[in-house]
Amino acid sequence: MFIRLWSLLRGKTKNKKQTDQAWAGRIKMPYFGLACLALFFLMVLFAEFLAPLDPLQGDLLKASLPPFWMDGGSWHNILGTDMLGRDVLSRLIYGARSSLIISVGCVAFYATIGVIIGLISGYVGGRIDMIIMRIADLWLSVPGIILLFVLASINGPSARTLILTFGIMGWPYTARIVRGETLSLKQRDFVKLAKVAGCSNLRIMFSHILPNIVNTLIILVTIDIGGIIVYTATMSFLGLGTQPPSCDWGLMLAEGKQYITYAWWLVTFPGIAIVIAVLGFNLTGDWIRELLDPKQKLQ
């Protein structure tokens, strides 16, 4: 599958035309974005090896030390410590994992719901399709935070509630894409043949149409992760997401904000970490989107 993805990205699709390749070459590789992404995944995968200290272990004697280049800072705590004496750098490195897990959880949840609704909408068509798409339109304009308030007042705020909210609120995006693809695939011969062969509608939807959408879907959903990282960090910052004492960038900012007047490093570094992760996903995502967009291909 990855080879197929890769060739798709390089513009080497089945009909290998010269124009296709020239077009793929015109869009520059986002080296900066890929570097950001690499750094992010390095932190996610190798947090145990990269983090110099235990992210949860505080030492009150070493509370609020500045970064190493300032007076009072040391190489022991490279980016300083927070009010409880926990190492900022180690917390940042572990925070990458938390933000990726939550974002992927959100994406997986809403994409699953979106795929099911989109397949039904596109395949069944007619009145049901119209109603579903109408609901999807309205749904998109409702701010997710109000549902988060409702759910969080039942269960209490937590990362799980946040993921649940995303699952309920985010499906229209995926549903629209899947519906569009289904509409065009429905017209193809293999679907008609499957119908003639007596396949049930469910079988056609899930084992004939779905596998043809998966590639596009994975790519499109992956590039949404940047936006979701910002969103989940914002919620954690407000206290509606991950709860202390977890290492989460949004949470670190919320804790640091109280000491903004004398510990600037507590609010600066977690933000930079978020920006690196998000830029990585967004720049790479824009590049992929441009490669995949057939409209741009024609220009």
Partner: protein, 306 residues
């Protein structure tokens, strides 16, 4: 046109009703028991009984639901536990501050985003295009709350140029409004750029140029008019973003508006206020959607006859 409006209105009312029902069951069946929240730990069962009767909690759920819906239609969502005033009044008191800030941010983002987006499209691949694209990328990638904190650190704490909290003077608006407008600016720039590019590619533009219409008019009248249809519809989704933005920005800059109120009420377990907020936002979103649908059908006849 009339049938179209009526159909859309029925859908809108239905949506409001569904949200109302969800709110009722979520807050009633969830942890939001007002009796437990309001009474001190040493309250007697008799006190509990009195309070239950006062809130109508001793009646069956169905009766409670009907009362709730009936009251809600009249705008009555119960008393705020904290302020001992009707929850709606509490919310409406804070509303002007939010509207002022939101409007400032909205106008600023329109004034910046749309011209840059249009110029980006007209002068494609020029320096202004790369500026526009960078701006859009920054607006999408920078977390609003972090930008707010950084502005505070720089202009408020280090340089002491701008006030970090409150809403008394025009200077108080600068940082919060700027912060709130970041994402909409990115959105408007992107949108104006892409819809202008689409419009400029179309045949009627070629036709206009062939006819010898001056370039200025081709862009300002022929292309912009068609591009504006897409822009109008997106304004609604920007509103959703502004709601979240106001919660975040008001929390950071201690702005005395609805966003901060709802956060305080949520963490202070003042649920009637949270309920009112949820219903209020739903109502505004639904009404705006309806207006845009109608406006859309009015601008673009193709929609009407579908």
């Amino acid at each position: 046109m009339k049938g179209y409006i009526i159909k859309r209105t029925i859908v809108a009312l239905l949506l409001i009703y569904i949200v109302l029902t969800i709110v009722f069951f979520a807050f009633r069946l969830g942890g939001a028991d007002p009796v437990a929240i309001m009474l001190p730990p040493d309250a007697t069962p008799r006190d509990q009984q009195v309070l239950m009767e006062k809130f109508g909690l001793d009646k069956p759920l169905g009766v409670q639901y009907i009362t709730f819906v009936k009251n809600a239609v009249g705008g009555d969502f119960g008393m705020s536990f904290k302020y001992s005033e009707p929850a709606l009044t509490v919310l409406l008191d804070r509303f002007p501050a939010t509207i002022k800030l939101g409007l400032a941010a909205f106008l600023f983002s329109l004034a910046v985003g749309i011209p840059i987006g249009i110029l980006s499209a007209v002068r494609r691949d020029s320096w202004i295009d790369s500026f526009g694209r960078t701006l859009a990328l920054a607006g999408m990638s920078l977390p609003t709350f972090w930008v707010g904190i950084m502005l505070m650190l720089f202009f408020g704490v280090a340089l002491r140029l701008l006030p970090v909290s409150g809403s008394d003077t025009a200077l108080h608006y600068v940082m919060p409004a700027f912060c709130m407008s970041l994402y909409p600016i990115a959105l408007f720039t992107r949108l104006a750029r892409s819809s202008m590019l689409d419009a400029l590619k179309s045949e009627y533009i070629v036709m206009a140029r062939v006819k010898g219409v001056p370039e200025k008019y081709v862009i300002m009248i022929h292309a912009l008019k068609n591009a504006s249809i897409t822009i109008v519809t997106v304004i609604v989704s920007v509103f959703g973003g502004l709601i979240l933005g106001s919660v975040v920005v008001e929390t950071i800059f201690s702005w005395p508006g609805v966003g901060r109120l709802v956060m305080e009420s949520f963490f202070g377990r003042d649920y009637p206020v949270v309920q009112v907020f949820v219903m209020f936002v739903t109502l505004i979103v639904v009404v705006l959607n309806l207006l845009v649908d109608i406006l859309y059908a009015y601008i673009d006849p193709r929609i009407r006859y579908q």
